[in-house]
């Protein structure tokens, strides 16, 4: 088990190297003069030169890369251009209550779990009733749901549920743990609705693929009922692709629903990125790209371990 974890961790090294390389190339090389970009459109030549020295863009390219790697390893990303705050503080926050990471999670984690529960249940029902009118109409509804832009959900949700009906807070934030739910309810509902279409279709495909496997026929030939077959045999096997999908969705958990946060003024990571983009805050975006990627890799590691719990074939590799 530990050997496995260590091996997976070691495997992350070349990937991490690749991530830093791509990010570095993208920001420091591909975009032209990074100093000019950071300084903004109306900057004077002196201001650009000042930034060039301040951020070390005058050094040779390989030294710049080493600097960048050192930043990542030491978790010291320098300061934001616009707010002059330390970037690490901006991302992790001064206290848990103010931490954008935890703020994002308090929106996305419950929303995500709720989505999982709802969509898997619906998909299971559809699997049982496959081919029926219900199955077909739910599928069409899912495809229709998928055909709206996520922005539309947020706009309409905010307008209708928040403004017109006045049930929920439209936007705003209270960092206290006990009070923040008031501002989170509406975004959570929107997040769930937003994910319904694609998730139901995906899980339905997974379950349908499993249901035609030979082991299901064996289970039937033992005299097991449909419920046992579905909830014990099929669900357990389907866990493997389900976990895969969950991993794919992980970045959204950390990143928060970027758009939702931006719209509802929730100061999570998504909101932070949105702000940085508006201010063209180059170091913040670069740092967040790398950091969030690293967090994502940690999640991947955890799911790799989860795989070994779910899939007996993985254990001893």
């Amino acid at each position: 088990m530990w050997k496995y974890v260590v091996r997976r961790t070691l495997y992350m090294i070349p990937i991490l190297f690749g991530v830093t390389l791509i990010t570095f190339l993208l920001f420091n090389v591909a975009g032209g003069d990074p100093a000019a970009q950071m300084a903004g459109k109306n900057a004077t030549a002196e201001r650009i030169e000042e930034i060039r020295v301040l951020y070390g863009f005058n050094k040779p390219i390989h030294m710049q890369y080493l600097d960048f790697v050192r930043q990542i390893v030491t978790f010291d990303y320098g300061r934001s251009i616009s707010s002059k705050q330390k970037i690490s503080t901006m991302i992790f926050g001064e206290s848990p209550e103010l931490s954008p990471v935890l703020t994002s999670l308090s929106l996305t984690l419950p929303a995500f779990l709720l989505t999982l529960l709802i969509t898997i249940s619906i998909a299971l029902v559809l699997t049982v009733k496959r081919g029926s009118k219900l199955d077909k109409s739910v599928m069409v509804i899912c495809l229709a749901l998928l055909s709206f832009s996520s922005l539309v959900y947020i706009l309409v949700g905010q307008k209708w549920l928040g403004y017109e009906l006045g049930i929920f807070e439209i936007s705003g934030w209270d960092p206290s743990w006990t009070e923040r739910w008031r501002y989170l309810t509406l975004p959570t509902i929107i997040f769930v609705i937003l994910s319904l279409g694609s998730n139901i279709l995906f899980y339905r495909t997974i379950f349908l693929e499993e249901i035609f496997q030979d082991y299901v026929r064996t289970a039937k030939s033992k005299g097991l009922g449909q419920k046992v077959i579905l909830f014990k045999h099929v669900l357990r096997n389907a866990m493997i692709p389900i976990i895969t999908l969950v991993v794919i969705q992980m970045p959204f958990l950390i990143l928060g629903a970027l758009l939702t946060e931006a719209f509802f003024g929730i100061p999570g990571l998504g909101g932070l990125i949105f702000q940085a983009l508006n201010e063209a805050d180059f170091p913040v975006i670069r740092a967040m790209t790398v950091l969030i990627t690293i967090m994502y890799m940690v999640f991947q590691l955890i799911t790799d371990v989860l795989y070994s719990v779910v899939d007996p074939k993985v254990t001893l590799k």
Partner: protein, 574 residues
Amino acid sequence: MSETLVQIKNLSVDFSTDNGTVNAVKGISFDIPKGKTVGLVGESGSGKSVTSLSVMKLIPNPPGKISSGEIIFEGKNLVAASEAQMRKIRGKKISMIFQEPMTSLNPVFTVGDQIAETLMLHEGLSKDDALDKAIDLMDQVGIPDPKTRYKAYPHEMSGGQRQRVMIAMAIACSPDLLIADEPTTALDVTIQKQILELLADLQKKYGMSILFITHDLGVIADIADSVVVMYRGDIVEQNTTEAIFTNPQHPYTKGLLACRPRLDKNPERLPTVSDFMTPDGKEKHNPDADKLVEKAFRPITDDQEVLLEVKNLKMHFPLQKGFFGGVKSWVKAVDDVSIKVRKGRTLGLVGESGCGKTTLGRSVLRLIEPTSGNVIYKDQDITELSKSEMREMRKKMQIIFQDPYASLNPRMSVGAAIMEPMVIHNIGASKEERLELAGDLIEKCGLPREVLNRYPHEFSGGQRQRICIARALAVKPEFIICDESVSALDVSVQAQILNLLLDLQEEFQLTYIFISHDLAVVKYIADELVVMNKGKVVEMADCVSIYKNPKEDYTRKLLDAIPKGIPKTLASTL
């Protein structure tokens, strides 16, 4: 006559497909007596598996549906039984084992749990009691060390052991009827023998009936008391095993029995079903088929020209790689093999799955690069040839694969497939000339010229194999490796292809290496025989002597495991 357990009356099963309804089973009737084994025999598409699934009412619906008929079990008609009633019968009174033990077991549960599940369901045992019983059952079906093995997952067991687990699961509640759907087809011949013996033992112990479905008449003779022969959804003949084998009535049965290569006979040509029967099922009188001329034995002598010699060939695959790419352990798929193939003759290469015979064949042609060793073709070491020299060399050496479905590119017409090698090697001056040549070849292989415009999916397995042979012949080779080339085919088609291969050998003076797991087939076609096990050559001799008196234990074991195709009742009198 003993008491009847299950009565099948006028059973019809329909499948709806894109092209309309297909009558998979057409109103068949037969009985399964108590405590006896009924063999249900037929080739692919005969409806035998559909019949067996119908008894359990496991036909996938849609698209399948029992359209009429009755299945009477314990005085009740199962066709009319509700799903809830069927659930009480499945696994308890009627249970089933399948062809693929790997996919038929749930990969994420331990085998102990899967056996115990049946017991908890039908016998109301507690989990602990059920597991105890499961361990006991695993012991009964001959799984060594069941006390620790019950915690194993299916992928941690061998194919034979998995099938034993399936059997343990099936007999857990001492059913009245066990349906075995091709339970040994995916297994090696030695394992097959063990499983058949196990089933016979368990039958004696529990007094259950067995419905044994297979395409292999040899297996049927070994295990069944009576036989039902199915052909295109219909029963053509049913009788006691002895009567079927000694005095078949229907021309199809006659053909099936005759076209199977046997160890005790070696005819010059294999009869085929079409020698006995017209396509619409009428009897055909064919005097040639009755005269099974014994094939003249042409001994191999040392002075015969050696076309191809393999010297100390090794093919090792890395099994486990270290972190920095260093290889920790190897699989020795082919381990120091030396063989000689004589011009115009056939060398048979036999062994069980994983013995390295296929790897050997492919490394001889350098389809995979051997680790070390030499392959000398007419004084030329082909392992030392450059890529372009090797490409030139490929004109002389060809291969025909096992799976006729995978060996043709589905997006390429038959004509294009046969002409492609000609294009690569500049055979034929123009497209018209190549088309002409391809037409000649396909006719030689027994298909009309018109097929050149068609695509592979329009053909049956045997027809595809003919196309593959025509493609191999397109470069006018001298030497062909047949890698399990008839193993995926029905026995009646197999006979036709074997005959074709022999005809072509005579006409073009071809030299073959014939790779197969089926000793009877190899004996029919080969002059000389090499037995392989675990990457090494166990024994090498001419065909007649190796079958008459095998020198090595392994060869003897292999020969012994082949179903003899002689009914139990008759075997004792011989």
